[in-house]
């Protein structure tokens, strides 16, 4: 039962949350119209929202989300200081190449979040996702790197945090 109804509930909660954030009021009429609209939208669109199956709905969901967001912001700020150093210095220490890495995330949503995190962290940019492997453009590839070491360097820590709330 839980499997069949959970996409509807998740879509409804997301729609209602977005409505509340955008109207920023708890007046009765706006709240009622928001509930009705989110209900209609979730009934229509939930069967097609297969991407939401990647969510792991359990008790530690918000804790996992928050710890991931914290780590992500730290990585983003580190990435930008690294980038600033590169842009200001005379030779930019560029050894760019496209490397391939393996991911253990199974759902599409997990891959989406992983690709976003890779794009916003130091010197890496997701170029393509094919099945289980991601093509990553790396701005400064270390010498003698193969698929295992680059997987370790780029995605290992992110996957640890993402596994907290995604499949």
């Amino acid at each position: 039962m839980k499997n069949s109804s959970s996409p509807y509930v998740v879509t409804f909660v997301i729609c209602l949350l977005l409505w509340l954030l955008l109207t920023a009021s708890f007046a009765a009429d706006e709240l009622i119209s928001g509930v009705i609209i989110s209900l209609v939208v979730s009934i229509i669109s939930a069967p097609k929202m297969k991407i939401l199956n990647g969510l792991r709905l359990h008790l530690g969901f918000f804790l996992g989300l928050l710890s991931y967001l914290w780590y992500f912001f730290m990585a983003l700020i580190k990435a930008n200081f690294d980038l600033a150093k590169r842009v200001v210095s005379k030779d930019m220490k560029l050894h760019p190449d496209v490397v391939e890495i393996k991911t253990t995330m199974q759902s599409d949503l997990g891959k989406l979040f992983l690709a976003n995190s890779i794009t916003l962290t130091p010197g890496t940019l997701t170029v393509d996702v094919v099945g289980d492997s991601l093509l990553v453009h790396w701005i400064d590839v270390p010498k003698n790197s193969d698929i295992n070491t680059s997987t370790q360097l780029i995605v290992a820590k992110f996957e640890k945090y993402l596994k907290g709330f995604l499949k």
């Binding site: 920023a24 930008n80 600033a84 930019m92 760019p96 794009t119 940019l125 393509d128």
Partner: protein, 116 residues
């Protein structure tokens, strides 16, 4: 509080500026995508946070804009880079070892002219 918010806005503006400078200085398309996306995204986050400190009552809309920016800006840059990669644009390589570091700048400008 207004002053701290101003500082965050300045922080964001500096990173947007660095991203734009990187857009000029980087040698090939993929590096430019990286620098543009990262610099401008962190700049947008800084400015939104500074605005939140100045006007705390606007938090809900600022949060929506922040979430949307964080979710979509990497997606759009990834989509563009995938399109470039599939249409066969090559990755720029520095000729290793036979160029000293001080000549890196010369090499970069050479490569730009070859592109055009």
């Amino acid at each position: 509080m207004h002053f701290i918010g101003d500082l965050f806005i300045l922080f964001g503006a500096v990173f947007i500026f660095l991203g734009a400078v990187g857009l000029i200085r980087m040698p090939d398309v993929y590096n430019r995508i990286q620098v543009g996306t990262k610099g401008v995204t962190l700049g947008a986050i800084g400015i939104l946070f500074g605005l939140f400190l100045i006007h705390p009552l606007w938090w809900s809309k600022l949060l929506v804009i922040l979430g949307f920016t964080l979710l979509t800006s990497p997606v759009s840059s990834s989509a563009i880079s995938r399109a470039f990669y599939r249409s066969g644009i090559k990755v720029w390589h520095k000729k290793e070892d036979d160029i000293k570091d001080s000549e890196g700048e010369v090499k970069v400008s050479d490569n730009k002219e070859k592109d055009s």
